[in-house]
């Protein structure tokens, strides 16, 4: 909690929708902005910028240059990340430009233990439209960025990386001491649709350069318990971006994956004491949400029912219900149910392909969080085209028997033809594997 103590039970939407009528923004560092009367549009824009004002100014002073404004390129593939003016790396600090808003997800995709700084940048005056299950509908001109980086485990960069702590972005700036920036992937919403553009950070760590064909970078992972493991960090090529982001394999239009209500509905990491979606709504970044997140959902520790917020049938969802905004569990939060944590993990890591329309609909396995537990969700399901991915095991999930379950094998293995996800990792996420194994072990039954 921050200094802004909300009165218990005080969740009046009107108050929260009108920043000028409440003192609730005390924690936002936006008071002076919110006191300016009228000027709603300007307010919305300024609010976003002002949100980071403190740190931006500090950093800007250090660099003695004015903050830049993000540049949206309507076509082509600019050669440098800096051409977009989203962020700059100088003097040991990565600084987000005004209007570039960091966000994070309750349970994210695993990518070889890389830490990720995610940002969204909206065109002036524009907002994303809320959708309950799919990624929010972003306006043309939106830019999403994801910067992959590691804690560097030695002073000189020799490819040694650690399993690191969570990102330390404050006020739009992230200190770079002990950090190795690897790549920044952009998802840019152009008139013709979303376009994925990959950039790889240079040796000097001063900018990232366009790298459409991807790359394989040798690294050594230092696990928390001291084990060392050589691996190839693989930067995807531009087509492979579609391997995940073309979430509908028939239309093959790219789409954001993480920017869904259920992933974003969590306490904000970047604005203390407020739900991340609250913050988006308040700052004018998101419109059309059926109701604001309930106060409890902003505090984590929802315990039971986080998945049950997802109605079994999206079509029948009751938009008026108090809990209409779905929420995924934080996969490491042991106050959540095992089922909620496991489903959140499978959602974030699998369901962009394993859905009813995704590239992995060929397998008949659908891991979207509202899918009922049964053969479709892997229970006693025979693999179809797994090949070596079966690991010699009979079914996707053998309830009660993780060592007999293909899920666990495919998550453990690092053989390129066998592992899941097919792209995006060269190491095994041991903690994620352990979660899924625990979840399967806790099930009753077996397969008949």
């Amino acid at each position: 909690m921050n200094t802004d103590q909300r009165k218990p039970g005080h969740s009046g939407a009107a108050d929260r929708r009108n920043p000028e009528s409440t003192g609730r923004q005390d924690g936002f560092r936006v008071r002076r902005v919110s006191r300016r009367p009228g000027m709603t549009e300007i307010f919305k824009q300024t609010l976003r910028i002002a949100f980071f004002t403190g740190a931006v100014f500090i950093v800007a002073c250090a660099r003695e240059s004015a903050p830049q404004t993000p540049t949206f390129h309507e076509e082509g593939y600019p050669a440098k990340l800096s051409d977009w003016n989203l962020m700059s790396a100088a003097n040991g600090v990565l600084t987000l430009s005004p209007g570039v808003v960091p966000y994070d997800l309750a349970t994210p995709l695993f990518t070889d233990y890389a830490l990720k700084l995610r940002t969204v940048t909206l065109p002036k005056g524009a907002a994303a439209s809320y959708r309950e299950y799919d990624a929010f509908d972003f306006p043309v001109g939106a830019i999403i960025s994801k910067t992959f980086y590691y804690p560097q485990s030695s002073d000189e960069w020799a490819g040694d990386v650690s399993v690191g702590p969570e990102p330390t972005v404050a006020g739009g700036a992230m200190p770079l001491n002990g950090v190795r920036l690897v790549e920044t992937r952009l998802l840019v919403h152009r008139a013709e649709g979303w376009v994925a553009i990959p950039y790889v950070w240079n040796e000097e760590q001063s900018d990232a350069l366009l790298h459409r064909t991807g790359a394989a970078k040798p690294m050594t992972l230092h696990r928390a318990d001291g084990r060392e493991e050589a691996f190839a960090y693989v930067v995807p090529n531009q087509n492979q971006c579609a391997g995940c982001h073309a979430t509908n394999n028939t239309t093959r239009k790219l789409a954001p994956i993480g920017l869904k209500a259920r992933h974003l509905n969590k306490p904000s990491t970047f604005a203390e004491g407020v739900n991340q979606l609250d913050h988006w709504i308040l700052s004018g970044m998101l419109t059309g949400a059926p109701s604001l997140p309930s106060p409890a959902s902003g505090r984590g520790g929802g315990g039971e029912g986080s998945v049950s917020n997802l109605s079994p049938h999206p079509e029948s969802a009751d938009a008026d219900s108090e809990s209409a905004i779905p929420r995924n569990a934080l996969w490491t939060d042991e106050t959540e149910s095992l089922d909620a944590r496991a489903r959140a993990y499978l959602d974030a890591n699998c369901s962009h392909c394993h859905s009813d329309v995704g590239p992995a609909d060929t397998s008949g396995l659908d891991l979207r969080p509202h899918v009922e537990f049964g053969p479709k969700f892997g229970a006693c399901k025979t693999p179809v085209a797994a090949g070596g991915g079966s690991g010699g095991r009979p079914f996707d999930i053998v309830p009660g028997a993780p060592d007999q379950s293909i899920f666990v094998y495919r998550m453990q293995t690092t053989r390129p033809g066998d592992m899941m996800p097919e792209l995006g990792r060269s190491t095994s996420h041991e903690e994620g594997v352990a979660l899924i194994a625990e979840w399967i072990a806790a099930m009753d039954g077996g397969c008949d």
Partner: protein
């Protein structure tokens, strides 16, 4: 067959290729297994526009990551399946060699070798032509080889012709969840399954050679998928001596195929097998089976899945030399009990399952019958529903005829 990949031969060919002016040809590679070509080809695939022909020169090129194509209307063309070789021996990432998610796609005259997963996968698309492509695992048939050689799935209007598939740990040539398909003039050897048609509607499989696989030609339906399949004709093929020990991954459906299976139908409907040469397959030349004798979990099957093979019509095949040494304890025991240690299983084996829900007066309605009218070829009902207790010859009982299926005509001039 022997494949020419020696450095000398490649160098000569590269020199010759350098003199011809191809469209969109990348930098000339040095032989063999030139890694520098990877970026060139990847960039060409990224920049491809509908109507482009991406020509890959002669030579052996190595790749450490998957290739992918997402643009409709592209042709990828090599200089011959023994001359243009894409080698994935050093692959560190990617579940296939080349992944295509696009329509109006043609690939021809090249080889894809030693991928860690599938060699060539086309995931959803229409008007797909795969021609004179070789997919091979050069270390010979091994369990750790990739699953599929040539693998179109959820495709429509598909022509696979004159390809060669060797060493896949699942199927050399596999068509899944597709519609309107011709598979012809291909050769599949040393795979677990030579050619497999699965959950696919309207396929003609003809004039192929399947030999030295565990099972030669398979027509399957599996549960839980986007569509079942029906209407496949298998004719004028040679399915000969498919006796290789099953090296499939335990747990995969194909791992249940007995070594020595010529043509296998599992749970599929309206399948016509005629005018083939099916010989010397040691379990038996033709197997007709249901999912219920395949060791799959009933818990893991969608309730509406129809696992019974129905409307199966077998006639006019030239068969012999099979059934002498069936794979698996049940079939071995059955053979010895019924035909003696020196005997052989008949040419056609049916597991004996039929759908109880569809019986009318204790009989399967005529269009759903299994009909084998193949001269002197004998048919055995293995009585799998009762634990193989009372197998019996049913040759005369199943001698009947069904309406013949029409030939497949591909749209848009494919295969014409």
């Amino acid at each position: 067959m022997r494949l020419m990949t020696s450095a000398g031969a490649v160098a000569l060919i590269v020199a010759a290729a350098a003199c011809s002016g191809e469209k969109k040809q990348g930098a000339q590679p040095a032989a063999p297994a030139d890694a520098s070509y990877q970026d060139t080809l990847m960039t060409e695939l990224l920049d491809a526009k509908p109507g482009d022909i991406i020509e890959i020169p002669e030579g052996k090129f190595s790749f450490d990551r998957s290739l992918s194509l997402t643009v409709d209307g592209v042709t990828i063309r090599g200089r011959g399946m023994d001359k243009t070789v894409l080698s994935f021996k050093g692959q560190i990432a990617g579940a296939e060699g080349l992944l295509v998610t696009a329509s109006d796609f043609t690939i021809e005259d090249l080889a894809i070798e030693d991928t860690k997963g599938d060699a060539l996968k086309v995931n959803e698309g229409e008007n797909i032509v795969i021609r004179r492509v070789r997919t091979e695992w050069t270390g010979g048939p091994k369990t750790e080889n990739g699953a599929y050689g040539i693998y179109p799935v959820q495709t429509k209007n598909v022509l696979l012709e004159s390809n060669v598939a060797i060493g896949a740990s699942d199927a050399g040539i596999y068509v899944g969840q597709s519609q309107n398909v011709i598979v012809r003039y291909n050769r599949a050897e040393k795979n677990v399954a030579g050619i497999e048609i699965e959950n696919t509607f309207d396929a003609d499989v003809y004039e192929n050679v399947a030999t030295d696989n565990t099972g030669g030609i398979l027509v399957f339906n599996m549960p839980n998928l986007s569509q079942p399949g029906a209407r496949t004709r298998v004719f004028k093929n040679q399915a000969i001596a498919n006796n290789r020990g099953n090296f499939g991954h335990p747990g995969t459906p194909v791992a249940t195929i007995p070594a020595g299976s010529g043509v296998v139908i599992n749970s599929n409907d309206q399948v016509e097998i005629f005018d083939n040469d099916i010989r010397d397959n040691k379990t038996t030349n033709i197997i007709i089976a249901s999912v219920f004798s395949s060791g799959l979990s009933k818990d893991g099957m969608s309730a509406d899945f129809d696992g019974f093979p129905e409307g199966i019509y077998i006639y006019g095949n030239r068969m012999g030399g099979g059934g002498k040494n069936p794979d698996g304890l049940e079939l071995q025991a059955l053979k010895i009990a019924k035909f003696g240690p020196m005997g052989a299983l008949p040419d056609v084996l049916w597991d004996g399952f039929s759908d109880p829900a569809k019986q009318v007066n204790g009989e399967t309605p005529a269009p759903l019958r299994i009909c084998v009218d193949n001269d002197s070829a004998e048919v055995i009902n293995a009585d799998a529903p009762n634990g193989f207790k009372s197998p019996s010859l049913v040759t005369d009982a199943v001698r009947c005829a069904l309406d013949k299926l029409p030939a497949i005509a591909l749209a848009n001039g494919l295969g014409g």
